[in-house]
Symmetry: C2
Subunit: 200 residues, 2 copies
Amino acid sequence: MSKQFQPLINYFEKIAVLDESEKQWVKDLFVFKSYKRKEFLLREGEICKQFNFLLKGCMRMYLVDDKANTHILQFSAENWIKVDAGSFRERTASHLNIDTLEDSEVLYITPENLKLLYEKAPKFNYIIRELLEKHLTSVQKRLLQYMSSTGEERYLAFQKTYAQFANRLPQTQIAAFLGITPEHLSKIRKDITKPKHFIS
Amino acid sequence: MSKQFQPLINYFEKIAVLDESEKQWVKDLFVFKSYKRKEFLLREGEICKQFNFLLKGCMRMYLVDDKANTHILQFSAENWIKVDAGSFRERTASHLNIDTLEDSEVLYITPENLKLLYEKAPKFNYIIRELLEKHLTSVQKRLLQYMSSTGEERYLAFQKTYAQFANRLPQTQIAAFLGITPEHLSKIRKDITKPKHFIS
DNA sequence: CGAAAATTTGACATGACTCAACTGGAGTGG
DNA sequence: CCACTCCAGTTGAGTCATGTCAAATTTTCG
């Protein structure tokens, strides 16, 4: 079923065209794996050993803080990358968890094989750098939005930006992504339907 | 004064050793520039055309939101990189500002010359990728901290992590970095000196 | 259907903001 | 050296945003 690699190759080729040997390295070094709903790809304390590309399904990466609250850093669905870059890179224990919200399928590469890929196909230094830059920009944007707006504003923005997720995810998860409690999100949703302009 | 390049070369060599020709490309493509206190390196609406390395001084990168509040994304001092990666990369108008908090000196490279550097010395694809990964990790960490802690907790963490800045910066700036008002920071500082444990 | 999970609702507590007034230096010009 | 202004920081009162907890309700799914 080599067809499975096509989405990944397409993804890379949005950044730079690959020749046959480069495509072959991708096929040789990435591994297919499928997960049931609620399975873990990474648990805090472990070292992140998979750089994942999602073929199908939906997952989240999150932190559980000392008050046992869950904070979601990122949702991913089809054609997204999912990895704890810090842990993967430094081979250090991760503070994050990654698990599935739906049955999912991924292609992943290990740190060793990624290193090999960089050696055999140096173009990937460029490709991964581009991906990282984009990702960095989006995380920065999120931090700024977080600093400058209320829960309600963030929720409205989320609905626009992540329309594909908004209907697919339970509210509890969305609240954990927005950084508010589920109760508060519920109240926000109620307020939105009753416009403020409705005076007595 | 080719000595000025040494800190930058040292910075790169923390990631990978450079040969003579690579060092020479750095010297040829980076440009020295100095700034007075309160000068701008980038204003919102402009395209970020400098990838800056700080030799001396201190600056901030920040967003001004629609309510005219300032949100500081990053402080930088000696031996730090300062750039709006998104704007620099995509050649799009930036939403951010960069200005100096002290008289400062930088080495910068333009997008065109950075592209040239990647061509002439491909090792920089690797080096910049590593730098980005580290930076990404730190922004992610900050987002998570932001999501999971109060202003007081963030202030205490700031004092530890950014001890070098804590004494160098006015409180107004620290508040804008922490995402709280200066008045609130003032109250936090007051509370800290009076431990909660002091009962009646 | 029935149990478990997700969502909603309400009362109350706390974190954080706004605004306005006050305090205490750090210049600056006479 | 003094008087004056300017700016950062502090303080307090009132308000809004959000959290906590507990209970009621709805939805999901075996």
